[in-house]
């Protein structure tokens, strides 16, 4: 064994040039390895050469060159290093010490006596040298000749050493190049898949690059992009520009912007709602990439859903009111009948001889009161039926409940139901849409009445209560003495189109829950003691101003 430090002048210039050409000309790793192996075998006079590359999992054989009838055959592979393929102890030594090992007559000198490969194959000349790139070990070149000892001369090893270090650099570069190409391909795939819109921006406004998906979103074509006619600042409608400006410091600080919604102008002047996420390039905060999702369809679907829900809510309300039809007629007729009777009485008091003005006056006063009562009933009904945008009022829940009870009063009597109210006197106001909340109370009361409509011999009792739930919320309860709710169906009750009623739509509770949740509250059902159901909802208390 001897360490070789060959002077440069001993180098075979032709070989070096050949390899250098190969290395610079061949960026593809397979081609490069083929050239390297072939040259090494030919130049060094080896019978067999192995290229070992150090991977994360350990050294692997990446290529094998063998000579057969004067021909060099190079085989690229990826195999584990084993003692049956090479003198493993020699390789380990090289990888460990990062020094060349030359055995002039391995089997005779018995330098690595424990190596089973040398012993078995009667290996004569062995040359193994590390492949280094900037002090980093990337592999080893292993050459052997079993025919003659001392094959690997010092001068030749110097060339091989240079060759190996050249190759090491090339292999590393090639791997980097390949990694880069893979990453580039992946990114290309992402961009060209056109699943999301992607563009590369400059902070001052220019869009440098964009994929078809983004161009299609904003209605421009590639020519516009190439001609630098696309500026994100100009695509942004004026009312969004201020917010964009406010986001820039955050982008500069964290390098990214969490996805947010905005709009862009299309080329035709219309607008497209988008969801956009932004990342600045690491090396230059003034440039970056943006990922854009077209929200048009989603917005349209959401709007359609909202409208459908609104329509269903109105239909449901109309159905609920329809069920109260007879009661409502009664509620309106009651004051009208009284007005007619009082007017007739008043007219008689006036035409009496002598006219009784005091009594006529009293008749008229009653007429005034009953007219107010009638118009209040009509007003309540109109409010309940009419299409209205949700409002934010200060709502006195007790008042709202009493109004609903006035509407359902006759229905309750008709079903011979005893109503108990326990309304907390100091209930704080809540914020929300008074009419919507009343619709829910109405819905729950009508449900309770229907639940008790089948005769079962029990006293029919409807209890309506309001109370403070805690410091932040108030609770309203509607309890009935009907058959109650099967606990296993309790959650399904709130699903759309789930109904236990013959003519029900199955929307009442679903819509009620949606409304309550939109108010920041909860709607749930539980048992009412041993008989009946208790429907409860809570609403947040209006914070003191």
């Amino acid at each position: 064994m001897s360490m070789i430090a060959a002077p440069l002048e001993h180098l075979d210039l032709a070989t070096v040039l050949k390899v250098s050409q190969a290395v610079s000309g061949e960026m593809a790793l397979e081609k490069l390895l083929d050239t390297l192996m072939r040259t090494a075998v030919e130049h060094a006079g080896a019978q067999r050469a192995l290229l070992i590359l150090v991977r994360e999992a350990g050294p692997r054989i990446a290529a094998e060159a063998t000579t057969s009838n004067g021909m060099v055959v190079v085989r690229l592979c990826d195999e584990p290093v084993t003692g049956s393929l090479l003198a493993e102890t020699v390789l380990r030594h090289v990888l460990c010490t990062r020094e060349n090992v030359i055995l002039d007559d391995a089997s005779a000198l018995n330098a690595f006596p424990t190596d089973p490969y040398i012993a078995r194959r009667l290996t004569r000349s062995v040359f193994c040298l590390p492949l280094m790139n900037q002090a980093k070990l990337i592999g080893a070149l292993y050459l052997e000749n079993n025919l003659a000892p001392g094959v690997f001369a010092a001068a030749r090893t110097a060339v091989l050493k240079l060759l190996a270090s050249q190759a090491a650099i090339s292999i590393e570069n090639s791997r980097l190049y390949r990694n880069l190409a893979e990453r580039e391909a992946r990114i290309r795939r992402l961009v060209d898949a056109n699943i999301v819109g992607i563009f590369v921006w400059e902070l001052e406004g220019r869009i440098i690059e964009a994929n078809d998906a983004f161009l299609a979103m904003v209605g421009y074509d590639r020519e516009d992009l190439v001609a630098s006619r696309l500026r994100w600042t100009e695509l942004t409608p004026p009312e969004w520009r201020d917010r964009d400006k406010q986001l820039i410091p955050e982008l500069a600080k964290s390098g990214t912007l969490q996805p947010f919604e905005k709009e862009y102008f299309r080329k035709d002047g219309s607008r497209v709602p988008v969801l956009i996420g932004v990342a600045a390039f690491e090396e230059n905060v003034n440039q970056g990439v943006a990922f854009v999702l077209d929200l048009t369809e989603r917005k349209r679907a959401a709007e359609a859903l909202r409208e459908a829900q609104g329509a269903l809510a109105r239909a449901n309300r109309a159905t609920t009111l329809g069920m109260l039809g007879a009661s409502i007629v009664h509620e309106v007729n009651q004051p009208l009948g009284a007005i007619a009777a009082s007017a007739a009485a008043g007219s008689r008091w006036l035409s009496a001889q002598p006219p009784d003005l005091d009594k006529a006056q009293r008749s008229l006063e009653r007429i005034i009161n009953d007219s107010r009562r009638a118009s209040a009933v009509v007003g309540r009904l109109r409010a309940l039926v009419k299409r209205q945008e949700p409002r934010k009022d200060r709502v006195d829940l007790n008042e709202a409940i009493l109004e609903v009870l006035a509407l359902t009063d006759d229905e309750v009597r008709r079903h011979d139901i005893l109503v108990e109210t326990s309304l907390a006197a100091d209930l704080p106001t809540v914020e929300g849409d008074r009419i919507q909340i009343q619709q829910i109370v109405l819905n729950l009361v009508v449900n309770a009445i229907e639940a008790m409509s089948a005769p079962d011999g029990r006293r029919r009792q409807l209890a309506i209560g309001s109370a403070r739930e805690d410091t932040n919320a108030v609770r309203v309860e509607v309890r009935d003495s009907g058959p109650g709710v099967d606990p296993s169906h309790a959650d399904r009750l709130f699903e759309a189109f789930y109904t236990t009623k013959a003519e029900g739509m199955g929307m009442g509770l679903c819509i009620s829950r949606a409304i309550i949740e939109a108010h920041g509250g909860r709607l749930w059902v539980g048992p009412n003691g041993s008989h009946g159901a208790a429907f409860c909802f809570s609403l947040p208390v209006l914070a003191a101003p």
Partner: protein, 206 residues
């Protein structure tokens, strides 16, 4: 015969309706008495005067129709006028069959209600007169002896004195004497009148 002013009883749980009807009744010179519930009415002292009942069919606790039946069982025979916010035809048919004078839907014309009230009072007056007449006849009938009642029944059945005598195994003359007593005690001028009285008494048993 009672000589008091006719009384109109109004039962309606709705205060404005109750007071409006009260006012209307008073404006035509009748005496209204108003109640919020049937119980209040049943517990109230009522003067022995002709009258009628104005009733809302949707009363708390008991429907108007059920209350009508309850009145009959309690021996209160005032004609009933129904007022309702939402009467249907089957309901009104049942009410009329059960002896209602009128069935009015709100809003009703005042004259309709007043006509019905007057008709009701008139019907009650006739009923009361008939009832008084019957009571008078019952008193007279009570003065008859056992034998006289027996013979009266046979007379009302259309039997001649001879036949009655044979049936009872007495002399025809004896029958004649009893018949004279019957006519005198019952204040009947003729056999025909006695037959009418018998009808009013509802075929008194011998």
């Amino acid at each position: 015969m009672a000589a008091e002013r006719p009384v109109v009883f109004v039962i309606d749980d709705d205060p404005s309706m109750r007071h409006a009807v009260e006012d209307l009744v008073a404006s035509v010179g009748l005496e209204p008495r108003v109640f919020a519930t049937p119980q209040e009415f049943l517990q109230a002292k009522r003067a022995d005067a002709p009258g009628c009942l104005v009733l809302d069919v949707r009363l708390p606790g008991a429907s108007g129709l059920a209350f009508q039946q309850e009145l009959a069982r309690a021996g209160i025979h005032f004609p009933v006028i129904f007022i309702t916010g939402h009467g249907d035809i089957p309901m009104s048919v049942r009410a009329i069959k059960a002896g209602a004078v009128e069935f009015l839907s709100k809003p009703f014309r005042d004259q309709e209600l007043l006509d019905a009230i007057h008709a009701g009072i008139e019907r009650d007056r006739v009923q009361r007169q008939a009832a008084a007449a019957i009571a008078e006849l019952q008193q007279r009938f009570a003065t008859l002896t056992e034998r006289e009642r027996e013979i009266m029944a046979l007379v009302l059945a259309g039997h001649a004195n001879k036949r009655i005598a044979a049936k009872l195994g007495v002399a025809e003359g004896t029958v004649k004497v009893h018949r004279g007593q019957i006519m005198r005690k019952m204040l009947a001028q003729s056999v025909q009148e006695l037959v009418r009285m018998g009808d009013m008494l509802g075929k008194p048993k011998s």
